[in-house]
Assembly symmetry: C2
């Protein structure tokens, strides 16, 4: 192609994803030129330390510590530094200088998304972020574009590969939580500080982004109810298995029809899911997202949730799309107009529960327990007593409820805990996907 | 929004998908206006007979038999008439009059895609066709955009809901092929003339579209090797089950590294797939597509493969995207530049096979058979003899091969058929997904 334009690409960050993106831009330049309709020239890579070790060897002359100069004069800026600052400032600089932005920064979008998208809209620029959620799996584009003519009712799925690896190892290999964490750390699934993953913070950021797109509203990270997997034990996983379930850290975003009008609920927590459900077969570090829409019905998207090379695929898909847009001219197509749907507190959600109690192993206990639950207005679906294995004569009672309001369930659990026949509330788990 | 523009939408066809599209455009106009940034005004619906019964009641004043007048002056034309003509002429008229086109017409795209896409490119207009493949499942946009920065190696999946319903009923309920077909017809899964589905023609059209996008090349319908499910019997399904497989009609598109350079293979046939494989769990009329890409790894997309309302979701996603583009200005972003990859004949594909033979039940037969196969250069993975259940003393031998070239396998089967110990070649099935 003789008349091919050249677009200048600035890359910010050369970590596990950034170095793969740089490498692919350099080695597959001809293919990208064909697909984008323009040569994508990697003008430079801004890093903190030009001498730091990289996953992939990169040409020394492309590395710079001067991100600002690199950004100015670029057509497309790829932000893969992570963190809030200076990423936020760089993205705003890029948009103001007329560049389109591609980012994988979920933390930034979950906290400063409104500012960034509004700026892009005003300037007619685009911000793409397929890499921010579920690695290589196309989920942003389907929600934003493919389902733009539909009404999404519910999105739920596994969006954190590290915790899925841990829970899957506990389930399939019978490991303890600490063993599974140790292996996950060795294999690079967990960062030095694992709190972001284990505590569900990473999944909550992704849930905020997904819910914002799915419901055309602005969901702040503070609106996401978040529970991590820190309290999930091998015993709970084993109990789940016996009952035909496995435990997954799920992100759930759904519309609620409330008396005062429509609301949404966005939450992340470890939940029971039937072993027959397709999400139960999502092993290792993989991710999968279920979308239920009014017209389309149920859709599922599955793939690698992380990994430098895999995530680079998502980044480069966005880069090629941004390049095509640049060539085609016209202003950027912004986020669809945002409604302002209220977020319902966790007490208002409706789901099923499984409550495990430790009780004195004596006659009449099961009936007493069943009474307490029914009196609280929660409908019991199953109740099972397992005789004690220990010397102290304690038994376990496992209660499965029908769909109930979380608030009613919490009240019930409080009544159970206060009852003289209950020694201890062992666990309370939500049951999803049914 | 006071400054909202209005875009005129022309709908061609009011069948099961078209009537749902019309209904949603009329009843959810406010939501579409918010998401598209423009009011989408349904200017008219071109039909052959304004008095024909419809799935959904439509305002009589919108119906017209004059498609040409309706198209002129429209901003977006939705073609859901099906068939080649007059659909082709209408789409070309629409593009020439400056409209963007949304279509679900796989037969047309598989045969006249090049003409239509070239016309759109020259005019700077867009042609969207998410609804043409796998109903509501977003697969076109992920292949065209999300994976534009990656290198797709292989796409394979279930893209015809009718045949999946039949095969699934045979597998799960033990029905005969004719019983399953009768039920599929009753439930509306099969047309009055079921050849298009049963013969694999519908799946082949979709495979051509998928392969063209995945490999950035032009695949004609004639390039697709096609076998239908007409010869799949209850006995074959039962035999597959005993061996841990199920039978699915698969569309496969893959790159082949050949001595003379790169080629592709695109084919549709009933194949064995392990019951452990996620595609084995795709039940009823659902579709699922697996994509393997160099960077992204394995991705899966799952959902409803057909249905008027479900497919309408895909159409309307395209309509909203086209509207956004219309508002944003700029020229349409055409199909990515097309390579011209040669299509390898079926004899050159590499896969595993399962061959079932009827043989005389006498000593030494199994060894003889194994010899014939080995001498032909095909490597045997498993070979099993089942004693005869009939009075005539015939046994079945089932041979599972390692990966072999189809040509070598065909030659082997010919040698087996000619051997004096083989009474009959019962079935030859490819094994996919391993």
């Amino acid at each position: 192609m003789n008349d091919t334009r050249t677009l200048r690409i600035a890359l910010l960050g050369a970590g596990s994803v950034g170095s793969q993106v740089a490498n692919l831009l350099l080695t597959q330049a001809d293919e990208f030129a064909e697909r984008a309709g323009a040569r994508l020239e990697l003008a430079g890579i801004a890093v903190r330390d030009v001498d730091a070790p990289r996953d992939v060897e990169l040409p020394r002359e492309l590395l710079t510590t001067d991100a600002k100069s690199l950004i100015e004069g670029s057509d497309i800026v790829i932000e893969l530094m992570g963190g809030i600052e200076p990423a936020r400032t760089h993205i705003l600089t890029a948009l103001n200088s007329g560049a389109d932005v591609v980012t994988g920064n979920k933390a930034l979008l979950a906290t400063h998304g409104a500012e960034i998208f509004d700026t892009a809209d005003q300037l007619g620029a685009s911000v793409s972020y397929e890499a921010a959620v579920a690695g290589a799996i196309p989920i942003i584009r389907p929600l934003r574009d493919s389902l733009a003519g539909d009404r999404v009712q519910r999105v739920f799925g596994i969006v954190n590969g590290s915790t899925n690896f841990i829970l899957d190892s506990m389930d399939r290999q019978g490991l303890s939580a600490s063993e599974a964490q140790r292996i996950a750390t060795e294999l690079g699934y967990l960062e030095a500080d694992p709190t972001l993953d284990l505590g569900g913070y990473d999944a909550a950021q992704k849930a905020a982004i997904i819910a914002s797109l799915a419901f055309h509203t602005q969901v702040a990270i503070e609106d996401v109810h978040r529970e991590g997997i820190e309290n999930v034990t091998a015993g709970m996983i084993e109990g789940a298995r016996r009952a035909g379930y496995t435990i997954k850290l799920l992100a759930v975003a759904e519309r609620l029809q409330e008396e005062g009008g429509e609301a949404i609920s966005v939450r992340v927590y470890p939940a029971l899911i039937s072993r027959e459900h397709p999400l139960a077969s999502v092993h290792g570090g993989n991710n999968a997202v279920y979308v239920s829409a009014a017209a389309a019905g149920d859709l599922m998207f599955y793939g690698a949730g992380a990994g430098g090379l895999q995530t680079a695929s998502a980044v480069l898909g966005d880069v090629v799309s941004a390049a095509r847009r640049h060539i085609a001219g016209g202003v950027g197509v912004g986020e669809s107009a945002r409604q302002s749907l209220p977020t319902a507190p966790i007490g208002r959600i409706l789901t099923r529960y499984q409550v495990t109690l430790e009780v004195a192993d004596e006659p009449g206990v099961l009936a007493k327990i069943a009474n307490i639950v029914s009196e609280a207005g929660v409908s019991v679906a199953t109740i099972e007593q397992t005789p004690s294995a220990d010397a102290e004569g304690r038994a376990h009672i496992v209660i499965g409820t029908h769909r109930a309001r979380e608030q009613a369930l919490s009240d019930t659990v409080a009544s159970l805990a206060a009852s003289d026949v209950v020694e201890r509330v062992v666990s309370v788990l939500r049951v999803e996907g049914e």
